[in-house]
Every structure is written in structure tokens, then in C-alpha cells.
């Protein structure tokens, strides 16, 4: 692990939520694209039923961190993470290969805290939903889009599924717009509607955590406002982590904000605190728009 340049290390200010209220947590996480290291010992504690926002200039590693949390990077053989990711106290990075990398990094690891059970990555992803920058509706009906994830894990009667689909679409604030065309293609919706459809699809499986990677960057202001309202309501039932380039968005909807820079977590504070009174010079410059 490369040490932080010394002029930056004085700027790290982390105020983490109490550890007994966390839904998911990254500990000393390194991330590699091939040989290129993109994350350097990042800690990210995510409090249950809160919205945690990740901000920072392009390329600082916020999307990488998000994509590590549900191990979606596994799709790409040259990417890997080293460290701990705890979901309800279970280490989702406890597969043989990842543990070996961790051992190589640490020399020895505290075997007592290790979870040896095999990691069910698909099961993990069912508990950690994800919404992407561009809407990704599947080429099927609105109904089937929402039901897609549920059908993977549960056998439901038609009536039960109807209830789940309606509930999910309502929670995603899309029901009123699509209730009369549930069986037409999800591709026919507008961009904002498609994104809310993806939210509905993600929450239909009742995940613990919902990860959103710049979900509003392809949306117009009205759709963005709608999506933000939706997220604030979803906080009641889910834990949300959102990556955003839009500082106002982070300030409006999140409870905690983490500022990342050069693959490090530079500052992590309750959102009001971070925006009103940023501790680090970098953070201050970024949130006041002086760089980034």
C-alpha cells in the first residue's frame, strides 16, 4: 500500500457513525484495475437507514468503491479488491483468493475474526441492490422488469407477484405513471421513468442496501427532483449509498458525506457538518467549487 503524500495526510478527517448501527462497511480497502491501484486503504462505514453520499473529483475512486461493495467488479477478471467488506458482520471478501491477497498484504491476518463460510456472491448481490448512471431497463415489460429479481429467488403466485410489483413501483414513485401499461416494454419509458423503474426493480427483492452510481446524471432537473424525493422516502426502509457529482444533491438528500481524493477517503462527516464546516483544505476547496 502506498502511503498518502504527506501534505495530504494532515487533511484526513474522519467522523464515523457508531459501529453498532452499520449496515455495510468497507475496511482498509484496496482496489486494483490490473496493476493500477485505484483505492488505498479506504474505510467506509454506512449507517443503517441513512443516505451516505460519496463526492469527489472524477477518477477519485468513488464509483470504484461503490462497485466493490456488491462485488460487481467480479465480472472483470483483471479487477480485484483487498481488504474487508462487512455486511451484517459477514465478510463478503472472505473467498479463498481474496483472503490470500489479504494475507499477502498484511503478513498475517487475525484468523479469529475470519469468516470461513464460502461467500455466496449472487446472494450478496440480492441483498445489495444497484442502480447505474444510465438507466438499464431490461428488454421486457415493465412488470417483468420489476419481477425479474424476485423470480430469481422466490416462487410467487401471480397474485403475490402483482402485490410486490405494485408495491415496488409505488415506493419508486412510478406506479401512477405506468399502472395502465404494466405489460408494455420498459424501453418505452422516458429516461427518468426508466431510472425509477430500475430503482423499483432493485428494491423489489427487498435488499438491505441500495447502491446508486450517479443515478441522476442522465436526467433532467424535474426527473432528478422526483428521484431525490423517492430516495428520501426509501431511506425509511433501506440503507442507501449514492455517488454523485452534484454537490447540492449530496447536501439535499444525504445524512453522511464522504469526500474522496486520489483513491483515499479524505473526509467523512455528517453532511451538514461537511458542507458547513469542512475540516480539510482539499475538502473545503472542493465543496466551495475551487477545484474538481
Amino acid at each position: 500500500m502506498t502511503d498518502l503524500p504527506s501534505h495530504l495526510s494532515e487533511e484526513v478527517h474522519l467522523a464515523f457513525p457508531p459501529s453498532d448501527r452499520l449496515a455495510i462497511e468497507a475496511r482498509k480497502l484496496d482496489f486494483f484495475y490490473g496493476k493500477t491501484q485505484a483505492l488505498f486503504g479506504v474505510d467506509l462505514p454506512v449507517e443503517r437507514n441513512k443516505i451516505t453520499a460519496l463526492i469527489g473529483p472524477s477518477g477519485c475512486g468513488k464509483s470504484t468503491l461503490l462497485r466493490a461493495l456488491n462485488r460487481i467488479y467480479d465480472l472483470y477478471p483483471r479487477q480485484h479488491a483487498v481488504g474487508r467488506i462487512l455486511l451484517d458482520g459477514h465478510d463478503v471478501l472472505a473467498d479463498r483468493k481474496s483472503l490470500q491477497r489479504l494475507r499477502e498484504r498484511e503478513g498475517a491476518i487475525d484468523e479469529a475474526t475470519m469468516i470461513r463460510s464460502p461467500v455466496d456472491v449472487a446472494g450478496l448481490r440480492a441483498r445489495v441492490g444497484m442502480v447505474f448512471q444510465k438507466p438499464t431497463p431490461f428488454p421486457m415489460s415493465i412488470y417483468d422488469n420489476v419481477a425479474f429479481g424476485v423470480r430469481l429467488y422466490q416462487r410467487k403466485s401471480r397474485a403475490e407477484m402483482d402485490v410486490i410489483v405494485e408495491k415496488s413501483l409505488r415506493r419508486a414513485a412510478l406506479w401512477d405513471e405506468v399502472k395502465d401499461k404494466l405489460h408494455s416494454s420498459g424501453l418505452g419509458l422516458s429516461g427518468g421513468q426508466q431510472q425509477r423503474l430500475c430503482v423499483a426493480r432493485g428494491i423489489a427483492v427487498e435488499p438491505d442496501v441500495l447502491l446508486l452510481d450517479e443515478p441522476a446524471s442522465a436526467l433532467d432537473p424535474v426527473s432528478t427532483a422526483k428521484l431525490e424525493e423517492t430516495l428520501i422516502e426509501l431511506r425509511e426502509d433501506f440503507t442507501i449509498v449514492i455517488v454523485t457529482h452534484n454537490l447540492q444533491q449530496a447536501a439535499r438528500i444525504s445524512n453522511y458525506t464522504g469526500f474522496m481524493y486520489l483513491g483515499r477517503m479524505m473526509e467523512f462527516q455528517p453532511t451538514e457538518e461537511l458542507f458547513a464546516n469542512p475540516r480539510g483544505q482539499r475538502t473545503r476547496d472542493y465543496v466551495t467549487g475551487r477545484f474538481g
Partner: protein, 278 residues
């Protein structure tokens, strides 16, 4: 000379050359279609589809050849689509970046441009000689080997065009990779996959050489895949080279039928592709 004038003139010259080249290519196509229509249309009647090929001087049609072409192209395409779609999927979704994947892709490209007569000889060696007989199955296999690289290539290309976020979104819901490929990626690429299959079909429907060594031809109506079978291209080959005028006329009709089939398959392929883009 004035620079601006020079540029304008050279531009005109270039546009003119491209237009002439286009005209030459189009003229060839129009001439082919014209000679097919003028010589084939006259002989086209119901007997073509109902009667088998005649002895010289007597009445007859091409029903045995039409049936044979449909059967062998159909079987060949079926084999080619099953193998080609799976191979293309593997190249695009799994092994395409490995050295082995690169080798497979290269060999597929070689196969794509392999002379069809070689493929006919190959199938002759592996299927006709060992079983001591020409058969429709051997013909279908030869056609399949010709269509397979086309289907593989288009499948890989089309699947590579599908956004990776689509795959990630499926996997992010907890689905396995194979499930996402089958239910989301293939579905999203459906039109392209159909177009690839149609391109393969258009390619093999006019192939003659590989069938001469495998299905041979058959002057009688037959649907038995273990026996020699007639096909439009081989019948055209036989009739066009004959000295009998009525056979030559039938050859023109057969050529017209193939041209019309290929043309309409291409048009259907385009329509499907356009519909899917909406």
C-alpha cells in the same frame, strides 16, 4: 491555379469517380436481375412447384430441387445457428480476451473465407466416404460449416454492442452470468441474432460446390436425409450445362427462384433489424 478552384475541381473529380464506380456495380446487378427475370419468368408456372425434374423433352418442374434446397438449407442453418450463437456468445461474454479466444476468432475468420469447394471435399472425406454414400445430411453439414462462421461472427459483434451496464444490472440483482446472458443479453440482441442467421441462410442458399460432393443431387423427389437429395444450385449446374433447351429454361427458373429467395431474406433481415432499433 487558384487554390479554391483546384479544391473544388478535385472534389468534383472524386465525387464523379465514386459515382461512376457505383453505377458500374449497380449496372451489373441490374443486368443480372434483368437476364434472370427475362429468361426465368417465362418458364415460371405452377408445374415448377408441383412436378419433379423431367427427362429431356418432357414436361416437368423443380419440386424435388426446391424441397431439397429448403430441407438442406434448413437443417444446415439449424446446426449453424446452434453452434454459431453459442460460439459467438463464448467469444463475446467469456473467453474472447484470452489467447485461446483470439485463436478461435482468427480461425473463424479463416473459415469465413475458406473456399466452399474445400468444405465440400472435407465433408466428403468425413461423411460420404466412410458411410459409402452421398446424403442430404452430409449436404446439410457442409452448408452448416459455411454458415457457422457467419453466425458466430455476427453473434459476437452484436453481443459486444450490448452495454456492459445491462449485464451488470442483471448480475446486481443476484442472477448468474449465464442467466443474464440468456434472459437479458440475448433478448436485447434478438434482432441482430436473427439478422445473423438470415445472412447465413442467404449465403448457403446459393452454394453449389459443397453440395456436389455431399448431397450429389437426385432426379427424384426425396425427403430421406440419408439418401442423395436434389437442390436448386446443383440442378441448375446440371441443367445449364446440358444441351437441351427445356432443361436450360428450367435452370433459368431455378436461378430466378434462388435470387428472389436471397433478395427477400435480405430485405426481411433489414426490416427486422430496423424494427428492433425502435
Amino acid at each position: 491555379m487558384d487554390r479554391a478552384l483546384y479544391r473544388r475541381l478535385s472534389n468534383y473529380a472524386f465525387v464523379g469517380l465514386t459515382a461512376i464506380a457505383t453505377l458500374i456495380a449497380l449496372t451489373a446487378l441490374v443486368l443480372i436481375l434483368w437476364s434472370l427475370l427475362s429468361k426465368g419468368l417465362g418458364g415460371l408456372d405452377a408445374k415448377i412447384f408441383t412436378m419433379t425434374q423431367p427427362a429431356p423433352g418432357s414436361e416437368g418442374g423443380l419440386s424435388n430441387a426446391i424441397m431439397g434446397s429448403i430441407m438442406m438449407c434448413g437443417m444446415g442453418l439449424l446446426i449453424a445457428v446452434v453452434i454459431g450463437v453459442l460460439a459467438g456468445t463464448w467469444l463475446s461474454e467469456y473467453g474472447g480476451n484470452s489467447p485461446y479466444g483470439a485463436a478461435v476468432r482468427f480461425l473463424n475468420d479463416v473459415l469465413l473465407s475458406a473456399p466452399s469447394i474445400l468444405i465440400g471435399l472435407f465433408v466428403y472425406e468425413i461423411m460420404v466416404r466412410p458411410f459409402q454414400g452421398f446424403s442430404a445430411i452430409a449436404g446439410a453439414v457442409a452448408l452448416a460449416i459455411i454458415a457457422m462462421p457467419i453466425v458466430t461472427r455476427t453473434t459476437e459483434d452484436i453481443l459486444s454492442l450490448q452495454p456492459s451496464a445491462l449485464r451488470e444490472a442483471g448480475m446486481a440483482l443476484g442472477a448468474s452470468r449465464a442467466f443474464v446472458i440468456r434472459k437479458v443479453v440475448w433478448k436485447s440482441a434478438r434482432a441482430g441474432l436473427i439478422t445473423g442467421a438470415l445472412l447465413g441462410f442467404a449465403r448457403i442458399s446459393g452454394e453449389t460446390a459443397p453440395l456436389l460432393f455431399t448431397a450429389l443431387g437426385n432426379q427424384f423427389f426425396s425427403v430421406d436425409p440419408t439418401q442423395p437429395m436434389a437442390s436448386l444450385p446443383t440442378t441448375i449446374f446440371q441443367f445449364a450445362l446440358s444441351a437441351y433447351e427445356d432443361w436450360q429454361r428450367l435452370a433459368w427458373v431455378g436461378a430466378l427462384l434462388i435470387a428472389v429467395a436471397v433478395l427477400s431474406i435480405n430485405i426481411i433481415g433489414r426490416v427486422v433489424a430496423r424494427e428492433a432499433r425502435r
